[in-house]
């Protein structure tokens, strides 16, 4: 039984904001299917009473003093933007 369908791959690609061709959908479906099958080995483990680990060190609530500091200069920030105008980053229109 396949673990992920072509339709699901198209959906996941949409969620991940990736344009995919039909050829890619076919290839990624087969590859992701075998990787997911491999990951399902984890089902052999009894994890009923096991807590999940998100972070390996026992650290929580790392705080610092709330002190203001100068931000980055605008021209520096815009230096890498593919398109900008009047000191602002330009994007295609978002409202119809």
């Amino acid at each position: 039984m396949s673990r992920i369908s072509e339709e699901q791959v198209r959906h996941v690609a949409h969620l991940a904001r990736l344009a995919v061709t039909d050829e890619e959908v076919e290839r990624f479906t087969a590859q992701l299917d075998s990787i997911i099958e491999f990951a399902e080995q984890l089902n052999e483990l009894d994890t009923e009473n096991v807590k999940p680990t998100a972070h390996v060190l026992d650290m929580k609530n790392v705080l610092r003093e709330d002190k203001s500091a100068p931000g980055l200069p605008r021209e520096e920030v815009l230096k890498n933007a593919p398109d900008h105008e009047n000191g602002q980053i330009k994007v295609p229109s978002i409202i119809e």
């Binding site: 990624f28 984890l42 994890t47 980055l72 890498n80």
Partner: protein
């Protein structure tokens, strides 16, 4: 004989005796790069003009107090996922092909304070996702021991440049083995520090709960000295640990009497080649001869490391790489109809296949209806893997095994099969999942290719790793052998 055959301390002494100058060191780097780079292809970007200028300026200060620091004037190579202000940083990806960072990573700030000279930015698998450097969108780096073989990855450029004598040492990053595996394949020394030991600020994130920057060097001594320079808590990285940095170089005593070594049976079993197994058993004999003892132990959840890693690392990557959208920096696709279309086209054109595969796997594992079955399950497996290490470290000082199951494979051999490629990291991944430190040191050859011995320590106990690695290195001569290029 290259100047870089000397240790850092020796080069420092030569500089201060005026037998060599800082411009000589920088010249040695670029001369070697000119000789071998067309075969090795370790660098994405060179910093030659600035480096030569900086060398002249630093040489003028050689008699001042500033020059007393050990790293003063030392040439270094930097993996291209570590941001360097004003020096192009690509992370091996077309999506950052023209990215000119406006700030320095914390490790770079520390290196600037120590006055090192950046020779260039080193090739890597795209966004550090790979084990061969073949997924770099620029070029495939080759292994200096045999240019038909891969150097390993993802820090393949960092390891190959050091092995080829292009730089005396470099920085890499390690998420599932990306420092230790290429160090093993190229016959150099590479350490992944404890998670939290080195600031990740300015390291282009792949999997934030696993990534660590670490040194790749020719000797254990240099490695310890470089780690001293880049470690420490950092206000810009909330996951950096507020624990004092040890003087790792003080651990280089050669004394391992009474050291208790654990050897996991899982690390010498199926899939591990006979020659690799034998090289580890030989290394254990050497350490025994120096007064250490070893026993076989079990890390029973080892085999679940690989599947847990691919779910967790890909999930984190799918979130981290969302920032590459063609808006604020990096590549932007032409001819998009609307904003969503712009994101999709930019990312489809800017990312390579391996990156897309992992983003989709991660998005799938985190998506509604699958989160508990994949992501949460993998996090629970991580707890079990971490506990395996904790149990063994209650009774032993270090864990020893091979770094990789086999020596470097041929370029192109595994590129079409993601799962076979992933299997290279089977012995290094559990270390990242547990957050403990691990080093790879040269321990022999198989078919003319170097092999690596992996020494794993307790959280923040890099000192014991270095002590063990140094004693072993001084008792053997594998690290002195150089590839003939």
């Amino acid at each position: 004989m290259s100047l870089f055959d000397h240790t850092l301390t020796e080069i420092h002494d030569l500089l201060h005796k005026k037998e060599i100058s800082i411009p000589d060191l920088v010249d040695e780097s670029y001369k070697r790069i000119n000789e071998v780079e067309d075969k090795i292809k370790a660098f994405i970007t060179l910093n030659e003009e600035n480096a030569r200028k900086q060398a002249e300026e630093l040489q003028k200060k050689i008699d001042t107090d500033e020059a007393k620091g050990l790293l003063f004037g030392m040439p270094i190579g930097i993996k291209d996922n570590i941001v360097t202000k004003g020096l192009r940083t690509t992370s091996g990806s077309q999506i950052l092909n023209n990215f000119d960072p406006i700030y320095d990573a914390t490790v770079m700030t520390k290196l600037h304070e120590a006055q090192t000279i950046t020779i260039g930015k080193l090739n890597m698998d795209e966004f550090a996702m790979g084990s061969s450097t073949e997924s770099s969108s620029f070029q495939a780096t080759t292994n200096p021991w045999n240019t038909e073989r891969v150097p390993g990855g993802s820090s393949g450029g960092s390891a190959a440049a050091v092995a080829a004598g292009e730089v005396p040492f470099s920085l890499g990053s390690d998420t599932g083995g990306s420092i230790r595996q290429p160090a093993a394949y190229c016959g150099v020394v590479g350490l992944k520090p404890t998670y939290g030991r080195v600031s990740r600020y300015g390291l282009i994130a792949f999997a934030s709960s696993l990534d660590q920057i670490g040194p790749i060097t020719r000797s254990v001594e240099d490695n310890a000295r470089l780690l001293e320079a880049i470690s420490g808590v950092d206000a810009f990285d909330g996951t950096s640990a507020n624990i004092p940095v040890d003087r790792y170089s003080e651990a280089l005593t050669g004394d391992v009497k009474g050291l208790k070594i654990a050897v996991p049976k899982e690390y010498l079993s199926e899939g591990v080649s006979e020659e690799v197994r034998q090289s580890v058993l030989d290394a254990l004999k050497v350490l025994e001869g120096l007064g250490a003892t070893w026993e076989e132990v079990s890390l029973p959840h080892s085999k679940y490391g690989l599947p847990a890693y691919y779910v967790l690392a890909s999930s984190e990557a799918s979130s981290n790489l969302a920032r590459f959208d063609g808006i604020r920096y990096g590549y932007r696709a032409e001819g998009a109809e609307n904003l969503i279309d712009l994101y999709k086209k930019t990312r489809a054109e800017g990312f390579g296949d391996e990156v897309k595969r992992r983003i989709m796997l991660g998005t799938f594992a985190l998506s509604s209806g699958y989160y508990d079955a994949y992501y949460k399950k993998a996090q629970k497996a991580r707890t079990l893997i971490k506990k395996d290490f904790e149990d063994v470290f209650e009774k032993y000082d270090v864990i020893i095994g091979p770094t990789t199951p086999t020596p470097a494979f041929k370029i192109g051999d595994n590129i079409d099969d993601p799962l076979t490629m992933y299997a290279n990291d089977i012995l290094t991944i559990p270390v990242n999942l547990a957050g403990v430190p691990g080093i790879s040191v040269p321990c022999g050859f198989s078919d003319g290719m170097p092999l690596g011995l992996q020494i794993i320590g307790k959280h923040f106990d890099e000192k014991t790793i270095y002590r063990t690695a140094y004693a072993y290195e001084q008792a053997t001569n594998f690290h002195q052998q150089k590839p003939s290029l």
